[in-house]
């Protein structure tokens, strides 16, 4: 073989094995399925090992501490760190400010009906101060906080409430160590936990179980007297002993599989078997012994038109417009007496037909706030900081605009006050545009004559994102009670009107509509089927009897005709 051909084949061999080689050579791995016992030394931001018992030890740096063994650059990105493709809409962040009656859903991803962080949050530091508490950090999002490996991977001893406290105070780099109990708020090390080499034992796991995810990903229905929390089951997968990452998997790149149908994963690998349908019904699925459902008696088009979550998650048929709290929107994980059924944002569960044409449960929320309408009809929101002065001057609000004004109005509407505030905003904010107030799905501007006029814009329309969890098992799914779970007038989930609520009272009706009104589900068809389904059980008996009689009569007739012909 000549030399050129030899080199070519060597290159081909090496490039074919490159991923394996690069994995092996750069990062330490045990390659065992068992956990690695982390007895580690903390490092400062320049990578020097810290001696906690030294007189004035440096503060630890998480990235530098993990970097000797892990590809922290890759791990800080990925879908979880805010990178990768935008994909299907997910949960937005809510910028909440009671003083200016602001509640804006936003995200740096290009999901519909969301405001952009660049319009509202001045820099990464203010982002981290506002949202860092529930943002695991990373290099691809809006935050300046580095990735907090501990919040997800430290199986024991991470105090999430402390994390919130210190992120709110702006201690982004030390908050993970304080939450993990390695240092206190003053930066003093918990020296008894370190050995003479300055090593500390940390229970770090690739999969630290659902408790690692739930602080940021809890969703709960608002409790009512008839519907207390203790009556609810947790997700069936968790009850069965699975963990979140059994489905929401990822490699070191932290491109955590989102698990929806048709997901295209940044790794370009086929992850379809990690969606509900892929795992339970697809040929490549069956992970963890996933049962394959028969859906006996369910006409097949239901599976083509409805997401699995349509029946196995989201609102139950007897409930209407359930209000929900989410970790990120309602600061769950923070001990508080103030969180109650009126705590904004108001997030409601309902049904929606998505771009793929399938029905599924979604969460809905409507924005509240102030903005500037430009000539092209676009509304840019005004950041709460800029609203302080004009709103204080006109409305004399101290802490909670909606509450204070509503108390002052004692039943009257707020037209005059909103109008005055809009004029003052026009005076005091130098940016171009007509000031508007949006709430309750409507956008209002001053008509120049002391009243408010409606502006046609979708800036106040609802933001929607799918509900996936908690997943209900077959016996608790919609339809377990038969077709009339959905196909009857007693079924409320399709007929309940869901609509926005205005944060301040102003004249004019607020639009509320049910999935039937909005033609998300064809109302006429649904009503006529509901009528027919009333007689379904009788129909089953009737058609079965007819079939038995007809077939036996048919067989007899055939036999007779055959014997006749023989004669």
């Amino acid at each position: 073989m000549n030399r050129f051909l030899f080199c070519l084949s060597l290159m081909a061999f090496l490039s074919g094995n490159l991923p394996l080689l690069s994995q092996d050579s750069t990062w330490k791995r045990t390659d065992s399925d068992g956990p690695y016992f982390h007895s580690i030394q903390l490092r400062d931001s320049s990578g020097r090992v810290i001696d906690p018992s030294a007189p004035d030890p440096a503060l630890p740096d998480l990235s530098a501490t993990c970097a000797p063994c892990h590809d922290v650059v890759a791990a800080s990105g990925g879908l979880h760190g805010g990178g990768g493709p935008d994909g299907k809409a997910g949960e937005p962040w809510f910028l909440m400010d009671a003083r200016s009656a602001t509640g804006l859903p936003m995200h740096h991803r290009s999901w519909p009906a969301l405001f952009k962080p660049v319009d509202l949050v001045t820099d990464g530091a203010s982002w981290s101060e506002t949202f860092g508490r529930h943002d695991a950090g990373g290099n691809a999002g809006t935050t300046i906080a580095g990735s907090d490996c501990l919040v997800c991977h430290l199986a024991e001893g991470y105090d999430f409430a402390k994390r919130i406290e210190h992120f709110d105070a702006g201690d982004f780099s030390t908050a993970p160590f304080i939450a993990a109990g390695l240092i206190d708020g003053e930066g003093n090390y918990d020296t008894p936990r370190f050995d003479s080499d300055g090593r500390i034992n940390l229970d770090l796991l690739a999969d630290a179980g659902p408790d690692a995810c739930l602080p940021c990903h809890t969703v709960r229905n608002l409790e009512t007297a008839e519907n207390p929390r203790w009556l609810h089951d947790e997700d069936i997968h968790l009850s069965a002993g699975m963990t979140c990452v059994d489905c929401h998997r990822s490699g070191i790149a932290h491109h955590i599989v989102r698990g929806y149908e048709g997901e295209s994963h940044p790794s370009e690998l086929d992850v379809s078997s990690l969606s509900c349908r892929g795992c339970h019904m697809g040929d490549g699925g069956g992970h963890q012994g996933a049962p394959k459902p028969l859906h006996q008696g369910l006409p097949p088009f239901h599976l083509e038109e409805i997401h699995c979550t349509g029946c196995h998650s989201g609102p139950v048929v007897t409930s209407s417009a359930i209000r929900q709290w989410t970790s990120r929107a309602h600061r769950l994980g923070e001990p508080s007496q103030k969180r109650d059924s009126t705590t904004p944002p108001r997030i409601i569960a309902s049904i929606w037909r998505d771009d793929s044409g399938k029905l599924g449960p979604v969460r809905l929320a409507w924005p509240d706030g102030w903005g500037l309408l430009d000539e092209s009809g676009v509304i840019r929101p005004i950041a709460p900081d800029l609203l302080r002065r004009p709103l204080r001057k006109t409305l004399r609000v101290r802490a909670n605009l909606a509450k204070e004004i509503s108390a002052r109005l004692s039943g009257k509407d707020a037209t005059e006050l909103i109008h005055a505030a809009l004029l003052e905003i026009d005076e005091s904010i130098e940016e171009e545009g007509v000031p508007v107030f949006f709430s309750g799905g409507r956008v209002l501007a001053s008509d120049g004559a002391g009243a408010l006029s409606e502006v046609s814009s979708d800036a106040a329309s609802a933001v929607r994102w799918p509900i996936a969890h908690p997943v209900r098992p077959a016996r608790a799914a919609t339809g377990a009670g038969g077709c009339t779970d959905c196909h009857s007038s007693a079924s409320r989930w399709l007929s309940t009107a869901v609509g926005p609520m205005s944060i301040l009272p102003f004249p004019g009706a607020l639009g509320a509509s049910s999935p039937l009104d909005e033609n998300i589900v064809d109302g006429n068809s649904w009503r006529s089927w509901s009528l027919l389904f009333g007689g379904r059980d009788v129909g089953k008996v009737y058609f079965s009897l007819c079939a038995i009689l007809a077939i036996s009569g048919g067989l007899l007739a055939l036999w007779r005709s055959l014997t006749e012909e023989h004669r």
Binding site: H295, G297, S544, I548, S561
Partner: protein
């Protein structure tokens, strides 16, 4: 069996066939309005099929008997998913089976009518 009942049965059979046309392409299920009309037609039709088979005085020839057996079996096939005995994936096959057998039955009835017609014409010619 009364002649008008017999004619009504044939008319409903024809209507059932017509209303099922949207479900004929492979992989497409009969759905929505057409399915509702199909079921409304099928409700009296089912009992009329029973009546036709059991109370028809004249002995049926082989083609006619096969036609009614096909239609009856078609009815039997649709009852299986209707009462919830099949999983969603296999339901397609039962529904399709119902469609093809019913059409086969109607086709055989047509054939038998055509044969009877031709027989009458030749008898008249003689």
């Amino acid at each position: 069996m009364k002649k008008w009942l017999s004619l009504l049965t044939l008319l409903l059979l024809l209507l059932a066939a017509l209303t099922s046309i949207p479900g004929l392409p492979p992989g497409v299920d009969l759905r929505g309005r057409w399915l509702q009309i199909h079921l409304i037609v099928a409700t009296p039709l089912a009992i009329l099929i029973v009546a036709w088979i059991w109370f028809h005085q004249v002995r049926l020839d082989l083609v006619k008997a096969s036609a009614w057996l096909a239609i009856s079996t078609g009815l039997g096939l649709i009852v299986i998913p209707m009462v919830g005995l099949t999983g969603t994936e296999s339901t397609h096959h039962w529904v399709q089976g119902h469609g093809w057998l019913s059409f086969l039955g109607v086709g055989l009835l047509g054939l038998s009518a055509a044969m009877a017609g031709r027989k009458k014409v030749t008898e008249l010619k003689r």
